[in-house]
């Protein structure tokens, strides 16, 4: 229990140190910031070691090397990544880097056309056969997608027509950005609510004996 109270005090004081940045940059904030930077790196060590390197690399090879002998290669490639810190042999790390980057970019490519372009375009195709409010909404939607795409044409000078359409595209973008901004106020404030909730309900109230 004692440890719990100490923990709450630590968390509360660190919270206040961070908030003090709003007034101005100060030593408390810089202390908290440096501590955070250090702890977060240590956190990476803990999580990567315990959750990926042990179960996915070390244990499989230790328990059944015959089945998992090939994992030696990614292990070695991983070590090679660190060769960049040796000035003379920095180029060796390019092998690991090339494999790492091109693989993840390849996976990214499969997401783009297959997962984004085709389904999104498919959704933008709507019938305009009836004259009712639904059709109007569909028309607005399609105008939005089309005009934004036209705004993103770069290899042609905009003509009088495309200029107008591109301008409509900007308007759609602005509505979207405005809406997104309005939407986001909530999210950001949510975080503050979370912190103040902690400070008031779990630190100040118990300190004052209010339940």
């Amino acid at each position: 229990m004692e440890l719990g109270v100490v923990g709450t005090w630590i968390a509360a004081l660190l919270t206040l140190a961070c908030l003090s940045f709003l007034y101005k940059d100060n030593p408390f904030f810089r202390f908290a910031e440096s501590l955070f930077a250090g702890v977060s790196l240590g956190y990476y060590v803990g999580i990567t070691l315990n959750q990926t390197l042990m179960p996915n690399l070390w244990e499989p090879m230790r328990q059944n090397f015959g089945q998992n002998w090939d994992l030696l290669v990614p292990g070695l490639l991983g070590v090679i990544l660190y060769m960049r810190y040796l000035p003379k042999f920095g180029w060796v790390s390019r092998y690991a880097l090339a494999i790492y980057v091109t693989y993840y970019i390849g996976v990214d490519f499969t997401r783009r056309l297959h997962g984004e372009v085709l389904p999104q375009l498919g959704r933008a195709i709507l019938p305009l056969s009836h004259f009712d409010s639904r059709t109007l909404v569909s028309a607005i939607f399609m105008l939005g997608v089309g005009s934004v795409l036209i705004y993103f044409f770069f290899s042609r000078e905009q003509g009088p027509v495309t200029k107008r359409i591109a301008r409509a595209g900007i308007w759609f973008l602005m509505i979207s950005f405005g809406a997104a901004f309005g939407f986001t106020v909530m999210g950001r404030v949510a975080l503050l609510i979370g912190r103040l909730n902690f400070l008031i309900l779990q630190w100040i109230y118990p300190m004052l004996g209010i339940s």
């Binding site: 923990g7 630590i10 956190y43 060590v45 990567t48 290669v73 990614p74 759609f172």
Partner: protein, 266 residues
């Protein structure tokens, strides 16, 4: 030894070929970038081809693509820790030279050492980094709950303040575009919360009207998010996806090699 085709092929491509390349690179500096780029073509195209070709040697459970996924999970773990070396280098240099603000570097290294060694302790003892068998927190989780979580969430919560000051300063109806931005933001801010009801709370005769206006604003917000916002987002997504896909092709084929620290040519 499991010598399935998938594994052996991967080992040849991404194990033996690099070793040969490194050996050759020791002699011929011009090969130091060419061979990695050549190998990268395979690493990039394997997941792409596997999307369309289900043949077992490629996409089966033990095929090249599936096995490569497991490899790259491991490589990603190594990559995640890459930055630590830089931080340790920078900080110890700061301390060694007593540069301005060096005590903060001591704080940083202490935080890293303590948290990191708790993490290593968890891995070595097999307790992990969550709960002990008796349900209490491991030292790592204790540090995480008391130090790491409040620090991260508080720094993030500073955003609420910046959000308010940005909207005060930036949302001015300077021109048509800015006005559209402003109106959309205002409508959504009113429509997402029972704002009118809150304002009308002290004046009971307005309650009913405020409630129905609030309902309407809520529906309008949904419409804005769905239709004009949804359309603009679709447009951006399609355009950006094309840009990203074309960049991906250039990177995989080695046309774009900035990520290796190489300019055009060699």
């Amino acid at each position: 030894m499991n010598l399935e085709f998938g594994r052996v092929a991967l080992v040849v491509l991404f194990g033996i070929l690099p070793i040969i390349g490194i050996a050759m690179g020791l002699r011929a500096p011009s090969l130091r970038s060419r061979i990695p780029i050549f190998i990268g073509i395979f690493a990039g195209f394997i997941p792409i081809v596997a999307l369309y070709v289900p043949k077992a040697f490629l996409s089966g459970e033990t095929g090249m693509s599936s096995r490569l996924d497991l490899w790259l999970i491991i490589l990603a773990a190594f990559a995640l820790l890459l930055g630590i070396v830089n931080v340790v280098q920078n900080s110890s240099r700061k301390i060694g030279r007593r540069e301005k603000g060096w005590p903060y570097a001591v704080v940083l290294l202490t935080g890293l050492a303590v948290t990191g060694s708790f993490g290593i302790y968890g891995a070595v003892t097999g307790h992990g980094i969550g709960f002990m068998p008796d349900g209490s927190s491991t030292p790592f989780k204790w540090v995480e709950d008391r130090f790491f979580q409040p620090l991260q969430s508080t720094i993030f919560s500073l955003l609420a303040f910046f959000m308010a000051s940005a909207s005060f300063r930036a949302f001015r109806a300077r021109n048509a575009e800015a006005s559209i931005l402003l109106v959309a933001a205002g409508l959504v801010m009113m429509g997402r919360v029972p704002l009118l009801e809150f304002l009308a709370a002290p004046i009971p005769p307005l309650h009913a009207a405020a409630a129905s206006a609030s309902q309407f604003l809520g529906k309008l917000t949904e419409w804005i998010m769905d239709t004009p916002n949804g359309a603009a987002q679709s447009g951006i997504i399609i355009g950006a996806a094309l840009g990203a896909a074309s960049m991906a092709i250039r990177v995989i084929l080695g046309i774009e090699r900035g990520y290796l620290g190489l300019g055009k040519g060699e």
